[in-house]
Symmetry: C2
């Protein structure tokens, strides 16, 4: 387990005013208990929950993913029209996206050097910078 252990999840849910229900805890364990960072769609997580014997509806998977995003436990990644990916890595970083396989891989922020961003359109402020490096199989 990473630093987001079982009790840490409860605590983070509490901080976000979310009750630690069976479903949230179960999905949290699936998402955060591995060593690896995960990039997963709602449907994939729903399937994984089913396979793990966790009974949870697709609606709840969607609700939970969004609540986890708001709580800062997850981050939504937009690379594919018509499908959202959720990323357990909430730190500053970017992505490789394998267009053929629909697979995301992290790129640590420090490995990409963005010099000289132009100033944003009048009346707006920069929220964040997303870099997606699209790759194809040889």
């Amino acid at each position: 387990m990473t630093d987001r252990s079982y009790s840490s999840i409860i605590e983070q849910l509490r901080n976000a005013n979310l009750r630690p229900t069976r479903q949230r805890m179960g999905l949290g364990r699936l998402l955060f208990s591995g060593d690896q960072q995960r990039h997963i769609t709602a449907d994939q997580l729903h399937l994984e929950a089913e396979n793990a014997g966790l009974s949870v509806s697709l609606a709840t998977v969607y609700n939970t993913l969004h609540q986890f995003c708001e709580a800062g436990l997850l981050r939504e990644v937009v690379v594919d029209p018509g499908r959202s990916y959720f990323d357990t890595n909430t730190g500053s970083h970017h992505h490789f996206f394998n267009v053929e396989r629909g697979e995301l891989t992290d790129i640590p922020a420090e490995l990409i050097n963005v010099a000289s961003l132009p100033s944003p359109p009048l009346g707006t402020q920069i929220d964040r910078v997303d870099i997606v490096v699209r790759v194809r199989n040889d």
Copy 2:
């Protein structure tokens, strides 16, 4: 009109083995006849066509947008889950995306300096690098 004038569109369609039909020419004119670069969704273009008195089905708008992409006349931009934008600027560049308004603005490639891309995952090759600077209204 830009350099992609009326006759130029016909020519480009021919090059792509696409017959210059009423629908394709009409949509081409809507997309390319202004001075400005355009960022538009299928639905927006369909509406615009209707307003311009061009009778064309939504299915054809989708077909045409994809064919124009394959022909290198357009480029698809993914910034919003569940909606595709099509960009008349096919050159190398990036985008501001106003999350609140759903509005895209071009950033010329030379205004962003990406130094030191890490090498792509084994067995893959870089297709392109998309940078999206998400902005919010003050």
